[in-house]
């Protein structure tokens, strides 16, 4: 199933003119405040009526200004995961989980409570009240509640923004499972590059009420042109398989034939992982460096160089492991004689990749 959104809307002095399609998997809406994320989510949820446009999940029209269609929020069959969880305080965790099921049409293929509880690891919490849960537990229950409403689309509005780093790390894997196991598209609002890199199947970058860029995550995130749009820590996402775990605390990965050494990743051998490599953590060298402490040296050729008015430039490198970005100074670009087509080496310090940057 897929979601298609076309809408124009004015709010205060802002003008939104937005069109994008979200295929299956996780589509991340990425952009600063005022870029239109909230407008889109509210329009899809039915909390805001756009001036014009059309919103449809597959061939089910939620809103169409031409035909005057505007389904009420409760008829839209959405699973909405809010930033603050919004669990019902007077119901137990189990009652919260089953809330949406009362209202789901009988024809809907219901997600099984046991499966969802198992997937989210919330079995021991079922009889508790939301007030007795931690922030991370609340958010897991909120995910389960959305899932059990048998939605045709899941909306997640910055679901991790209210959590600290440790809780984020606790929840992210559940979203990865949700992405891989739920067969419904997920529209996910975020302004965290790490979340985008780990979760996104495709990315829609919003700027000033317009779609500035959209496409598969690996393409958009490694496109240096999105850096000024607020993708602050621009970086590449490499897909790699776990080859083995060394007993000095490192894991060896295989990215398109290139070995990568990372701090121990909590995945099994053979598993596919996605590694986000921030552009600022990558150095460049024309010659293969020797006697260097960095473990990861990836040969490639320069695909493009972008620079703005500042002293920095972002160099994209095509390598066997995938596209890698490096943030260097314009002076270095000149000194090294970098230009498209020139071969060079990307150097990635092992310890610069934190566990948050590695996902399934």
């Amino acid at each position: 199933m897929s979601l298609s959104v076309r809408l124009t809307h004015s709010f205060e002095d802002r003008r939104f003119d937005i069109a994008f399609d979200a295929p299956g998997g996780v589509t991340v809406l990425f952009g600063g405040s005022g870029s239109g994320k909230t407008t889109i989510v509210n329009a899809v949820a039915g909390l805001l009526r756009p001036e014009a446009g059309r919103i449809a999940v597959e061939d089910r029209v939620l809103f169409d200004s031409d035909t005057g269609t505007n389904l009420k929020p409760h008829k839209r069959r959405l699973g909405y995961i809010f930033q603050e969880g919004r669990l019902f305080p007077h119901l137990s965790v189990k009652q919260n989980l089953l809330y949406g099921r009362w209202f789901a049409p009988k024809s809907a293929l219901p997600a099984r409570l046991e499966d969802v509880v198992e997937m989210l690891g919330i079995g021991p919490l079922l009889t508790r009240r939301p007030s007795a849960l931690s922030g991370g537990e609340k958010q897991r229950v909120a995910i389960g509640r959305a899932l059990l409403a048998s939605p045709e689309l899941i909306l997640a509005d910055e679901p991790l923004a209210a959590l600290d780093e440790a809780r984020k790390a606790e929840i992210l894997p559940y979203f990865e499972r949700l992405r891989d196991e739920a067969r419904v598209p997920i529209l996910y609002v975020s302004h965290s590059a790490a979340e985008v890199a780990r979760l996104a199947t495709s990315v829609v970058v919003l700027q000033n009420g317009k779609v500035a860029r959209q496409g598969p995550a690996s393409e958009v995130l490694s496109d240096p042109s999105v850096a000024p749009m607020g993708v602050r820590s621009v970086g590449a996402v490499l897909e790699a398989h776990v080859r083995c775990h060394h007993n000095d605390g490192l894991s060896e990965l295989n990215a398109g034939g290139v070995p990568l050494f990372l701090p121990r990743v909590s995945k099994d051998i053979g598993d596919l992982v996605r590694v986000r490599v921030a552009a600022q953590d990558v150095m460049l060298s024309r010659d293969r460096p020797v006697g260097l402490s960095a473990l990861n040296i990836v040969p490639g050729t320069v695909a493009s160089i972008r620079s703005g008015t500042g002293p920095g430039a972002i160099v994209s490198l095509d390598t066997a492991a995938g596209r890698i970005l490096s943030r260097v100074t314009r002076r270095s670009v000149a000194d090294l004689g970098l230009a498209p087509g020139v071969s060079c080496h990307a150097i990635i310090k092992t310890v610069s990749v934190s566990p948050q940057d590695v996902g399934g």
Binding site: A45, L47, K72, P73, H74, K75, R76, R77, L78, G79, Y80, F82, E84, R86, F88, P89, H90, Y99, G100, W102, F103, A104, R128, R129, P130, S131, A132, R145, A146, A149, L155
Partner: protein, 230 residues
């Protein structure tokens, strides 16, 4: 159990309990609806509705009673129409209940409105997003969360209805066994020589009922609040 009261005193106490009970029960749904509308809806004339609801709180009770008399009296248009279909307020205990309900209504609505305003609309939004229509959102989320406030409003209204005097005596007079509520009876006893001891007993009962009502509301509200927040 009330043999220490004279038949007349007993009658007044029982009548007052009946009047206050029905005044509270019948106005309860209207109270919840009005409180919800005032707390959540935006509609033209909202301030006027708000003012009308609160009017009995600030009007002299005798004015409220007189307005009731010229609206629901047997010769008034509405009163006559209702009399046709078998509902009579004038000089009946039902009239006392109506007067009590109207005077107690602002107290009931205020308590309920406060508790509705304390419910995070985002929770109601979440319920809607999960597929609940507005009425189901109200029944499964809003109502359980505002129960303590509803209860407080009801008990305040009950206590106020027990004590209503001015509007009642103006609207339905002071007929023993028919419209002579507890306060009317106290007033009547004080008008006759040697009535003080009867009046004093009724005053004691008044105080006891009011205290019990307040204690009960406090206890129930606390227990409900605990249940709701886990």
């Amino acid at each position: 159990m009330m043999e220490w009261l004279s038949p007349e005193e007993q009658q007044a106490v029982l009548l007052s309990l009946r009047v206050a009970f029905w005044a509270t029960i019948v106005s309860l749904p209207f109270g919840v609806f009005t409180a919800y509308a005032l707390a959540r809806w935006r509609f033209p004339g909202k301030q006027i509705v708000n003012g009308l609801v609160h009017l009995p709180l600030i009007l002299p009770p005798v004015v409220t009673g007189y307005l009731l008399l010229i609206t629901f009296g047997r010769r008034a248009p509405i009163g006559a129409a209702l009399h046709e279909i078998g509902i009579t307020f004038a000089f009946r205990w039902t009239g006392a209940a109506l007067a009590a309900a109207i005077v107690a209504f602002p107290l009931m609505v205020r308590a309920m409105r406060l508790s509705i305003e304390a419910v995070d609309p985002k929770l109601e939004q979440a319920a809607g997003a999960l597929g609940a229509s507005r009425i189901w959102v109200f029944l499964t989320v809003t109502l359980p969360l505002i129960l303590p406030g509803v209860l407080t409003g009801a008990i305040l209204a009950f206590a106020k209805a027990m004590g209503e005097f001015g509007a009642t005596i103006t609207f339905v007079s002071n007929i023993p066994g028919q419209t002579q509520t507890l306060p009317s009876a106290i007033y009547a006893f004080l008008q006759v020589p040697g009535g003080e001891s009867s009046a004093l007993r009724l005053v004691g009962i008044s105080v006891a009922i009011a205290m019990l009502a307040l204690l009960a509301s406090e206890l129930l509200a606390r227990r409900l609040a605990r249940r709701i927040s886990g």
